[in-house]
Subunit: 287 residues, 2 copies
């Protein structure tokens, strides 16, 4: 990709859309946005992280963009494209931050006009807080960015999407197919959120904060969760997620039964395996 | 407690014993140690975090201490007291860092001579690494310290133990009974370690580091685990731990079944509850 200045339209200026805007403005691109809340636009303008913003369907803003980034709830994203997808100019590249791809990508691709290409991406970065006021492009540093092409994507659009990941400051950019992505994300992200939520639901003791160590704090950080978005993401990836919950539960039961029957060798064997795998993981990531 | 300079003996100079030594030397106390490895002693002397150290059972070191801190595997701790507990001077206060209390505290108290008091404590701080070379007393900052008295303890010894927690730099010092402690720790610490180990055992994909976000990293940080120590701690607190694994599994199954049957209201209800509880938790801790 060239170093040329692009015009980038962000649709949905929350935590993630705002963090994209911040990173891309810093790189000298023109960043416009369409979002529901005028307060978010006013804040973003005051911080200098967007050039223009509107709560309306501004055809000129839509038509002028080289790249559009959708940071919306999945069903809002597909509805938006259905209604306004024809307004992008030929050659525009559309991408997203949606956490599930299977139910989304083909639908979006089939709705866009000839010459407008959707290439899906998943930035593996975030925070427990929400809203553009909490946007922070430092979350992309040391983080992973997954490009999720289909057979319909051109190598050119895939390269633009990878370039965007680099412009945002991600450390590692990878490609996965839609199926690989959704299975991976069921394990790495959705299962971990299910565990955190279940763990907080397992105790109503209000005094636990007095006694806890870092391990419990770490495991439940993500228990503060946007229930509307995550419920939708879980539903869209149901089969994969149920399979991962079951695979995890099987291992937990195995460990439970080994503890219960004083089978120290199985307990230690599982601990050695987890130590080895987690160590490999740290080494590769350099943390 | 007074500000007087104490002579403190640390038995077991690993990560935790070393971090205690570092904090207590910084406060001007005399810190001696008995530990298995001369290399650990040489390192600690070179760093100025102990005054004297030996790999022998040095009766003068044992007899001279005002406070002794045991940072050993539970069964090594009880064996040590059985063999050498009579060598402490009258008025000495013994404490520990052991992660389980039920099988330990009464046994230790019953073995010590008249005038030597054992008051149990659990510092809720640690690291995934081990050894005195990784000792760092900054882990006590913002952390919890639990004092675990029994009916046999005097208020004087409890106060000394609480004073020790403050000298070490802990943010919050609480008291729990042995039963309360072991139940609390089964939930807050042992269950979370079982979850992390099971999660790492649930996938043998060596490429996951390329795609993961912070949530998976946070949930598995503690999957690097000393299998000898944790297997012993799990076994000593078996009944409580199995009950907590079961309570957690019940919530996870509830969430799983709600996702599986498209019962969005239950999914969202659990997420709202977890968000509320985790938020309360953060607020109280000020993080």
């Amino acid at each position: 990709m060239t170093n040329e200045r692009k015009t980038i339209l962000i649709i949905g200026l929350g935590l993630m859309g705002g963090s994209y805007a911040m990173a891309l403005k810093r790189k000298g691109h023109t960043v416009n946005c369409i979002t529901l809340s005028q307060t978010s636009i006013d804040y973003a303008l005051s911080q200098g992280i967007i050039d223009r913003g509107t709560t309306e369907i501004d055809e000129e803003l839509i038509h002028s963009c080289d790249i559009a980034v959708f940071a919306l709830y999945p069903h809002v994203f597909t509805e938006w494209i259905e209604r306004y997808g024809s307004k992008f100019k030929e050659g525009a590249v559309i991408t997203d931050v949606t956490g599930v791809k299977g139910e989304i990508v083909e639908k979006i691709q089939s709705m866009l006009p000839e010459g407008v290409e959707f290439i899906a991406a998943h930035p593996m970065a975030g925070r427990e807080s929400s809203g553009v006021e909490n946007a922070d492009d430092r979350v992309f540093k040391n983080a992973n960015y997954i490009v999720v092409p289909t057979e319909k994507n051109t190598e050119k659009a895939i390269k633009i999407c990878e370039w965007l990941g680099r412009e945002l400051g991600f450390e590692r950019i990878s490609r996965l197919s839609v199926d690989e992505h959704d299975k991976m994300i069921a394990f790495l992200s959705q299962l971990t959120h299910c565990i955190a939520v279940s763990l907080m639901c397992a105790s109503d003791d209000e005094n636990i904060y007095k006694y806890t160590g870092d391990s419990f704090r770490d495991l439940t950080r993500i228990a503060k969760i946007n229930e509307t978005m995550w419920c939708e993401l879980f539903s869209l990836n149901k089969a994969n997620l149920l399979a991962e919950i079951d695979a995890f539960s099987e291992q937990l039961q195995r460990l439970r039964n080994a503890i219960g029957s004083d089978d120290g060798e199985t307990v230690k064997d599982m601990m050695r395996r987890s130590t080895l795998r987690r160590g490999y993981f740290d080494k590769e990531r350099g943390v």
